[in-house]
Amino acid sequence: MSAAPGSIRWLLGHELRLAWFGAAINKGGKRRPGWGSIAVFTVGFVGMHLVAFALLRALGPGGRGDPLLAIPISLVVIACSTFMLSSSLRACVLALFERGDLDLLLSSPLPSRSIFAVRLLGIAAVTALPYVYLAGPFANVALVLGHPGWLGLYVTIISCATLMACAGMLLTLALVRVLGARRTRVVAQVLGAIAGALIFLLSQFSNFTRHDGNVGPRIMEMMTHQSLFGPDSMLWLPGRAVLGAPLPLVGAVLLAGLAFALTVARTHRFFVHGLQQAAGMGRARARPAGALRFRFRGSLFDTVVIKEWRLIARDPHLIAQVLLQLIYLVPLLFLVMRGDSAGPALGAGLTLLCSSLTGSLAWIVISAEDAPDLLLSAPAPRRTLQLAKLAAATMPALLLVALPLLWLVVRTPLMGLLVAFTVSAAVLSAGLIVQWTGRPAPRSDFKTRGKENFLCTMLELVSSLCWGGLGWLLVALATEGAGWMLPAAAAALTAGLLVLLLARMLRRRPV
């Protein structure tokens, strides 16, 4: 039965149809996921059922029904909630600032409350979907194994996603009120990145504190013995809801429903206000004409590098992405400062992170050039332009790790120099691969760049792994010196150079 045009169901259908089109690879004008993608998706789903079956079977009938299972499950739910908050913040920024259809919807006779409710439902659905895909098989298998209570997992995921969608929307709208639309776009994405990395940082907590007073184990001890963290604690309600306990389940549904109703009722008007602010955010207040200042630069190289860095610094998407990568760098910095035996991991980690960061920046600087015609019609030497763009993409990562590397070189010179070598090689390779094999694309395609140019993405990935592996092997070789490491390091070096050679051979020629 088709929904009446203009009804909430009809609007929700439109929203879900757009989400379905958005899942397409967008190659060759396709707007729906192809059969290949659907096949991969299905095989993955079946595979997850097999994994769930193996794990639940290993638990045994007693383990699957053990109330203490609620503790680890609760921890997983809490961890997933931070990821959900991260994706809902991203989705809210998208809904508020980037989707071009809200002008059309709000100028129609549809009530703004319905539009807001549907948009919020859409955000909740998009937030829940990956978790339903990954965790749903556990509920299905548990049902087959005689534990129907596990179906509470679906309810818990949907409730949790709804709560996080409401939290994300309220946070975004509050930021609009406090900071204005322009700053909110950046801050919300940065908050999303931090929320996404929160669990990773917490997981590293015991690493930070391991060297002196066993703080990590003490916390674990406290969690198991204090009543706050005891088996009957309220903290484990999410786990009990997953296992099908009726009260926690009803509580989760009521909480999510209440949050949704209150968010829609109290903030739908401010949503419209936020949109109006977002529409006008391109305009900044003009300064008086007397303040006109120019800073012309002496060389073409400087001119291009400064222009690229300005564009990067003013791109909120990129700032969020970069910040996320920097967050993952924080635990590595602690390892550097502590100078313990985690050297190989440090070598690999720094190399991989710098390579990934450079790959992102190179895509922005090289592939997403906004005005290629301007550059081509200028008498500027192409080689200088390419060098300047390469420098603009590689220098931030190198500057970022310069200080930790210097610290490392001072403390353990050989390890520092080896890591500096692999970091430099990885950064240069990432930049060159994008320069040689990257395809022109609009800046707005940043999130989907991997899908648009599969070859470039794969070369970048393999190159990163080769140099990261070499970083691990060289540092391990310098500290432990196992016999197999030397040929392995030689193989990683050769593979890294071969990837670079392949990228050079596949380089795109100018029109």
Partner: protein, 246 residues
């Protein structure tokens, strides 16, 4: 750069994208004239301009800009010319001052030369009060004017514009037209394509009409009228482009 050579000379220019887009085009534009290149949609106007400015490599033929062979010395040929595409892509996250700094850097203009020109252009095009705004918030007309300022910052002898007045309001269109006339009065050359025939009729000293990648008529407005016994340029244009086989 030879002073006696024409501003632009195209000989036997060809470009094909499966089917010919430009088909053996011969064209000469003298220095110090405003030349309008007209043609119906898909006639090959933009393809021609993109080959002239080095954005597209021709399949065959020669392009000579201000006496310099574009294929042999692209940098030399580009130094004296500027191109304004029909939909100029600016950097949304740059301010007009920063955009002009960048363009001046591409053409290697010194700060002493560039700064007074940039101030004059922003002032002339009424953009000074918007100089500290990001261009992503600009209207189409403001973007077009800023791109024009960028095109003029190195004081090119040859200015090539593809549909420069599309989407501009009356005031902005007047500013752009005045600027083009002034450029020619100061000895510069302007080649423009336009669908607004009244602009070509009023501004152009010579008009070329292309169809299916070939030049089918060329001359002053009076010469074209005489040739077709038409009234307005619109009559001449329609007579020529609809009356002949492609």
């Amino acid at each position: 750069m030879r002073a006696e050579s024409p501003a632009l000379r195209l000989s036997g220019l060809r470009k094909s994208f499966g089917r010919p887009a430009v088909d053996g085009l011969d064209l000469t534009v003298r220095r110090g004239e405003l030349y309008a290149l007209l043609g119906p949609n898909g006639a090959g106007k933009t393809t021609t301009l993109r080959m002239v400015t080095g954005l597209l490599a021709p399949d065959a033929g020669d392009v000579e800009v201000l006496g310099i062979d574009l294929a042999r010395d692209p940098a030399g040929a580009k130094r004296g010319m500027a191109y304004l595409p029909d939909d100029p892509l600016l950097y949304g996250k740059l301010k007009p001052t920063e955009y002009l700094e960048f363009v001046a850097g591409l053409w290697g203009i010194s700060a002493q030369d560039a700064e007074p020109r940039a101030r004059r252009l922003l002032d002339w095009l009424d953009l000074t009060k918007h100089a500290h705004e990001l261009t992503e918030g600009f209207s189409r007309g403001m973007k077009q004017k800023l791109a024009l300022a960028g095109a003029l910052i190195h004081e090119p002898e040859l200015l090539i514009l593809d549909e420069p007045l599309t989407g501009l309001d009356a005031a902005a269109a007047r500013q752009v037209k005045d600027l083009l006339v002034s450029h020619v009065e100061q000895g510069g050359t302007v080649i423009l394509t336009t669908h607004i025939l009244e602009v070509a009729e009023r501004l152009a000293q010579r008009i070329g009409i292309i169809r299916a990648g070939r030049l089918i008529a060329e001359g002053t407005l009076a010469e074209l009228r005489e040739r077709t016994q038409g009234g307005s340029l619109e009559d001449v244009f329609l007579h020529l482009t609809e009356g002949q086989p492609g």
